[in-house]
């Protein structure tokens, strides 16, 4: 146990102080901040582009149009239809666009004269003036038309998991966020574990370590350091997400639905405690499985340059798990989703995603966890065998037959 603590703490401190970890943590944090804050920061600037308008219409139509347009745009003034429209006119009213409205037989004709044609709010003008268009075409009253246009489809939830569409959408958004986190953390930190093993082997310090400490202790400590750092990163990112999410307005569910990368939903109880617990359990299972395989295989290489070529094929199950997990969020009942939620290496992504968006029977969750634990045992055996021998194997990279021989040799 003392050996483990020494190796674990030594390795952890080395990794925490290492440049790649610090850079990764800072860049990841900046990315989270950017994802959460940039849309809000940029929105006023983007939305306000071209929204100052001048209405060019005869008095009766202008009187009807002005309140409609004022809902979403800033009306700087109204001038008669006969007014000559040019840049000077827009400048005089400090407007970006002039909206000309004329009564024609089939309704109204809307023409926008833009100072800058790249920022014309034509969609908003059209939507705002839709009641006027319909009124002029059908001669209904304004109120009748507005009521008809405002009619919404009402959705009532029969699900036991979610009580409203908002809540379901929020859960989907959060599940998506967490699957992305799961993917990034597992992949990045597994590769860190892999490069740490390769570094110890290629720097030849491995022999000195193995002469002192049991190779399995080294392997387990290395994998758990990777897991600790992943949890640390996750806590930092989630903490920042929650802090930034809760500083905004709106309920948790609606915030999460509006922005899938907002973590405000966690505060709004969008995800149940069971789902959050599942995230932690499947995150740990997924990380341990994948990083243990990576560590075992990394012990076979002799040059850090070979890391890329060897990690390529090993990333495939993680990427596959991620994509099926994303699929599961939108279509949790697909047979491929159900089946892969029991397959180790894939199920940490898929089962969690299923649980986040639909009700999964307890026996399925228990079976998936049991299969993952069984697989973890097998992977640890496999990686331990490779690591024990691989760390002392120098020279030419081992051939498949040699690897097979290693696995067959009793410990």
């Amino acid at each position: 146990m003392n050996d483990f603590i020494t190796v674990y703490s030594g390795d952890l401190m080395r990794r925490i102080k290492s440049r790649p970890f610090i850079i990764g943590l800072v860049l990841g944090t900046l990315a989270i901040v950017a994802l959460l804050k940039l849309p809000t920061m940029l929105a006023p600037t983007i939305v306000s582009q071209g929204t100052n308008i001048l209405i060019v219409a005869d008095a009766p139509i202008a009187a009807q149009a002005r309140p409609l347009l004022s809902k979403t745009l800033t009306v700087r003034g109204v001038v008669p239809a006969s007014t000559k429209i040019d840049a000077a006119l827009l400048k005089r009213f400090d407007a970006d666009n002039a909206v000309s409205i004329q009564d024609v037989k089939t309704g109204i004709r809307i023409t926008i004269y833009a100072k800058n044609p790249t920022s014309v709010p034509s969609g908003r003008v059209r939507t705002a003036l839709l009641p006027l268009q319909v009124q002029h075409a059908t001669h209904l009253t304004n109120a009748q038309i507005t009521a008809a246009l405002d009619a919404r489809v009402e959705v009532r939830s029969l699900s036991t998991t979610f009580h409203s569409v908002h809540q379901a959408e929020a859960a989907q958004g959060l599940a998506m966020t967490l699957v992305v986190f799961l993917y990034i953390l597992v992949l990045v930190n597994s590769q860190f574990v892999m490069s740490a093993v390769a570094e110890e082997k290629t720097s030849r310090i491995a022999e000195l370590l193995i002469a002192t400490v049991d190779p399995m202790v080294l392997l387990v400590a290395k994998v758990l350091v990777g897991a600790t750092l992943s949890v640390l990163q996750l806590l930092v990112w989630v903490g920042i997400g929650i802090a930034l999410g809760s500083s905004g307005s709106g309920s948790g569910a609606s915030s999460a639905a509006a922005n899938p990368f907002s973590l405000a939903g966690l505060l709004g109880n969008t995800l149940s405690p069971e789902v959050i617990a599942a995230f932690i359990v499947f995150f740990i299972l997924g990380f341990l499985q994948i990083s243990t395989v990576f560590a075992g295989v990394a012990s076979l290489i002799n040059r850090t340059e070979d890391l890329g070529s060897i990690s390529g094929p090993m990333v495939i199950p993680t990427v596959a798990g991620y994509f099926i997990g994303i699929l599961a969020i939108n279509a949790p009942s697909l047979p491929v989703v159900t089946v892969t939620s029991f397959v180790p290496l894939l199920s940490p992504f898929v089962m969690f995603a299923r649980m986040a968006v639909t009700h999964v029977p307890t026996w399925e969750i228990a079976t998936s966890i049991a299969l993952n634990l069984l697989a973890l045992w097998g992977i640890a055996w496999f990686a331990g065998k490779l690591y024990r021998v691989g760390m002392m194997l120098y020279g030419r990279p081992p051939k498949f037959a040699q690897v097979w021989e290693i696995l067959r040799t009793p410990s």
Binding site: N2, R14, S203, A206, L208, A211, T212
Partner: protein, 298 residues
Amino acid sequence: MLSVEHIQKSFGSVQALRDVSFSIGAGSVFGLLGPNGSGKTTTMRTILNILNPDAGQVTWNGKAIDRAMRRRFGYLPEERGLYGKMAVREQIIYFGRLHGLHEPEAAKRADAWIERLEIGTYALRPAAELSKGNQQKVQIACAALHEPELLILDEPFSGLDPVNADILLAVLLDLKAKGATLVLSSHQMWQLEQLCTAYCVINKGETRATGTLAELRAAWPTRLVRVAPDSKALRDAAAGFGASVAGSENGALDLNVPANSDFAAMLRTFVGADSIVRFEVVEPSLHDIYLRAIGVAA
């Protein structure tokens, strides 16, 4: 006492150790000799339990080597390695802790070793910034910080300049004086002769000779007798003792004679045969014994 008994080890189709046996008394310094690829490193790794032997056994004080015992051993591998980005002092402390020292004690000893090895200037610098020789000194500190009962050093002098080699020699003699058992390999015979009390020559994975220098010499079948002048009378007289001419240089004649020859009688015979000015019985050197054991020279 370290006892290595008939150990064998194969890697796939390559048989690295066929039959290696020797024993080392506690507190002695033991030289492991052999050409490159003879199995020295595999033997050392097997002693340290880094590799499990396919057959045979290794015991320390009569017991099979386990993890707890291994922590009391020290090892300097042939292929040196350090954490390049870790500071020298921190690194030495880390290895001390791996060998069971508490941090304050490890730090105290690390400072003493840093001073002794004259690497104080580099104590807080990353190991990668040090020269190869200074890195090697750091590794020696890492291996010996916990005052091991058994210290195994694979080619400890390689890469060291004469000044640093002397520092290392002094360190090893000091460890020996403190009662540590040392096992070391080197191709520098003179350094081994300065340090070692017993030897084992390995070739092609087999023990070819083992024992103290006196025992190895005793087992040597011939002796070299150097006599001058190189005259026909002396050559004829030598033939009566079963001697063969090994060479002639600077007026002296080198003769190979059986080790159990009566050298006093030989001297009397030579004095009677000619006016000799030189008679010397030359004991075989470690180098001679090594070459003969590996089958390169007779």
